[in-house]
C-alpha cells in the first residue's frame, strides 16, 4: 500500500517554481495568447479581457527584447476585472530568470524603512544581473586511496589516489595537505569527489551507483551519484542570476549574507549602492555581466503618496530601471498627500510616462467560465444548475463574492455527504454569508441600533475631509 502511494506521488510531482497554493489567482498560467499574440477566449486560466491581454502580450514582447526598460505600464479598471490576474499572467509568461517582483502599494509604509528606501529596494529586486563563475577542477570516482606511514613512525606520509571517470583512470601522488584533507573528509573507494584546482579543496559529491550494494546497511541519507563522464580535469562554468538587491544586502557589511533570509535588511547605505552600480557597470563593459531588466508590479498604486510618485519619476529615469507595471481601481480621485484630484489618483506628469491598459467588467458568459475554472482549481464539482445560479449571483453582486461561495458551498455539500454542489448548497451559503450590497442595505435599515451610529452620521462630513 505504502509503495503504491509513493509511486502515485512521484507521478504527481509537478515542477514547482513559484508559490503554488490555491490562491486567488493560482489558476493563471499565462496570458493565454497564441504565437501571433492573438488572445484565445479561454486559455491558461484567462477569460475574456481580450484587448487588455493582447496589450499586455505586446508589452511582454517588448520587455523580452529589452526595449522598454525604464518605462511604466498602468492597468486600470473597476474592482474585480482581472487586473492582478493579468499581472500574474505576465509574470508567468516572462522568461524564467528575469526577476518579477510584486508588491502592494501600502507595503511602502513601514516604521523601519523610509518610503524611498522601500521603493528603491523594490526597484533593485527587479533588476537581475547574470554572471558566470568558472572553476577548474578534477572530478572523478575514487578507485583506490592508500596512505602509507613511514616505518620509522615519524616523517612525511606517502599517499596515492586513483581516480577514474567512465573514459579514463589515473593515479595521483598526494602531498601532506591532501592526505590530511582525505582523512578529514573520510574519503574512501567508491566516493565521487571533486578537487578544486585553485584551492585544493576536496569535496565529496556522493557514492558511486556501482558501489550501491557494498553495504546492506547504508544510511538513507547516502547520496548516490553516477560515475562522471569525460575528462578528469574539468572546467565547470556556472551561470548565476542574482538581483541587484541581493548584491546590496550581501555587501552591506553590518548585516551580511544572513540578512537575505531573515528579511531584516534595514536601510542600505547609498554609498554601498553606488559602489555596486559602478562595479556592475564595470563588469558589463568587460563582458563579464549582463543586466536583465525585470518587472516590478505595484498593486493598488493609488496608495502611494505624492512623494513616492515624484521619487518614482526619478527612479524610472535611471539607467538601470526595470519595467514598472502598476494597477489601480480608482477613478478621478485625490492624489494621496495632496488636495489635488487626478485621474487614477496618479499625478499627470507620471501618468504621461505610462502606457495605460484598461480592463472592462466581465460579461455573463465570461463570469461563468471563470467560475468554472475556479471550481476546477479548487477541486469542486458543481451541478450545471448550481453554476448558473452562482453566475447570476456573481453578476448581481461581485465576482469575488461568487468565487468565495464556491469553497463554502463545497464544504456544505460535503457535510451532507453529497458529491456535487447543488442549488440548495448555494442557497444555504448565500443565506449564511451576506454580500457587500446586502450588508449595506441592512446597515442602512438598522443603523440606529448599532454603536456610535449618531457619531457616524455627524462624522461623515469630517471624515470626508481628511
Amino acid at each position: 500500500m505504502a509503495a503504491t502511494t509513493t509511486v502515485n506521488k512521484v507521478q504527481e510531482v509537478r515542477e514547482v517554481t513559484r508559490l503554488e497554493r490555491i490562491g486567488a489567482h493560482s489558476h493563471v498560467r499565462g496570458l493565454g495568447l497564441n504565437d501571433d499574440l492573438e488572445p484565445r477566449q479561454v486559455s491558461q486560466g484567462m477569460v475574456g479581457q481580450a484587448p487588455a491581454r493582447r496589450a499586455a502580450g505586446v508589452i511582454l514582447e517588448m520587455i523580452k527584447e529589452g526595449k522598454i526598460a525604464g518605462r511604466g505600464v498602468l492597468i486600470a479598471g473597476q474592482p474585480g476585472t482581472g487586473k492582478t490576474a493579468i499581472a500574474m499572467g505576465m509574470s508567468q509568461a516572462m522568461s524564467r530568470d528575469a526577476p518579477f517582483q510584486a508588491m502592494a502599494g501600502s507595503e511602502i509604509f513601514s516604521l523601519e524603512m523610509s518610503k524611498t528606501e522601500a521603493l528603491t529596494q523594490a526597484f533593485r529586486k527587479s533588476i537581475g544581473v547574470r554572471i558566470k563563475e568558472e572553476t577548474e577542477m578534477i572530478e572523478g570516482e575514487v578507485v583506490e586511496v592508500s596512505v602509507e606511514r613511514p616505518a620509522t613512525g615519524t616523517g612525511a606520509k606517502i599517499g596515492k589516489l586513483t581516480l577514474k571517470t567512465t573514459d579514463m583512470e589515473t593515479i595521483f601522488d598526494l602531498g601532506q595537505k591532501m592526505i590530511e584533507q582525505i582523512t578529514k573528509e573520510k574519503i574512501q573507494a567508491g566516493d565521487i569527489i571533486t578537487i578544486d584546482k585553485a584551492t585544493g579543496k576536496i569535496s565529496k559529491l556522493g557514492r558511486s551507483f556501482t558501489r550501491a550494494r557494498d553495504y546492506d546497511a547504508t544510511d538513507a541519507q547516502t547520496r548516490f551519484v553516477q560515475c562522471p563522464e569525460g575528462e578528469l580535469q574539468k572546467r565547470k562554468e556556472v551561470v548565476h542570476t542574482v538581483t541587484l538587491h541581493e548584491i546590496d544586502v550581501i555587501n552591506s557589511r553590518t548585516q551580511g549574507f544572513l540578512a537575505l533570509f531573515s528579511g531584516d535588511t534595514g536601510e542600505i547605505k547609498s554609498e554601498v549602492r553606488e559602489q555596486i552600480n559602478s562595479k556592475v557597470s564595470e563588469w558589463r563593459e568587460e563582458g563579464k555581466a549582463e543586466i536583465i531588466p525585470g518587472v516590478l508590479f505595484i498593486d493598488e498604486v493609488h496608495m502611494l503618496d505624492i512623494e513616492c510618485f515624484s521619487f518614482l519619476n526619478r527612479l524610472l529615469e535611471s539607467d538601470m530601471a526595470p519595467v514598472v507595471v502598476m494597477a489601480t481601481n480608482r477613478g478621478i480621485t485625490k492624489i494621496r498627500g495632496t488636495n489635488y484630484s487626478s485621474p487614477h489618483g496618479i499625478p499627470i506628469d507620471l501618468l504621461d510616462r505610462l502606457l495605460i491598459i484598461a480592463t472592462k467588467p466581465y460579461s455573463e458568459k465570461e463570469t461563468k467560465q471563470i467560475l468554472q475554472i475556479r471550481c476546477e482549481e479548487e477541486d469542486v464539482e458543481m451541478e450545471e444548475q448550481a453554476l448558473a445560479v452562482l453566475t447570476r449571483i456573481g453578476m448581481e453582486t461581485s465576482l469575488r463574492y461568487a468565487i468565495q461561495l464556491i469553497t463554502a458551498a463545497s464544504l456544505v455539500c460535503r457535510k451532507r455527504k453529497g458529491v456535487e454542489v447543488s442549488v440548495e448548497d448555494i442557497k444555504k451559503v448565500y443565506s449564511l454569508f451576506i454580500d457587500e450590497s446586502r450588508s449595506t442595505t441592512f446597515l442602512h435599515e438598522y443603523q440606529e441600533e448599532f454603536m456610535f451610529s449618531e457619531l457616524a452620521a455627524a462624522g461623515d462630513a469630517t471624515s470626508m475631509e481628511t
Binding site: 547574470r130 554572471i131 558566470k132 563563475e133 589515473t170 575528462e231 542574482v242 555587501n251 563579464k288 555581466a289
Partner: protein
Amino acid sequence: MARSVDFVLNYLQELEELAEDVLTDKQTIVDLNKRYNANRMALTAINKKVTAPPGSADKAWVNFGGMFIKVSKESTKAMLAEDQKELENNIKDLRTKLPAKVNKLRDAEGKEELKGFNLAPIDAADMKKLKI
C-alpha cells in the same frame, strides 16, 4: 506545409554535421586529457627515481611508437614538459571554441541560445565577495 525531401535531408545532414563536430571536440578533449594524465604520471615516476631498473641510473626507457629507447632523464623530462604545455594549450583552445559550436547547433535545432554562455567569467576574488 509539405517540404521537399531534398530540403529535409539537407537540413538533417547539416544538423548531424554540427552535432558530430561538437561530439568530436568533446572526445578530443577527453583523449588529450588522457595523454596529459599519462604524461603527468610519467613525470612523477621519473622524479621519484623508484622505477629505474638497475644499470640505468640516469637514463629512462621511453616508448616511441612501439619502440623502447633509452634516453637521458633530463631530456625526457624536458620533452614531457613541452608535451604537457602543448596539450594544455590544445585543450584550452578546444574549450573556448566549443560554446560557439554548441550555440550554432542549438540555433540549427531551433532552440534558443543558452543564457550567459558568452559571458567572460568573473575572477575568483570578486566571486568570493558575492558569496553565492
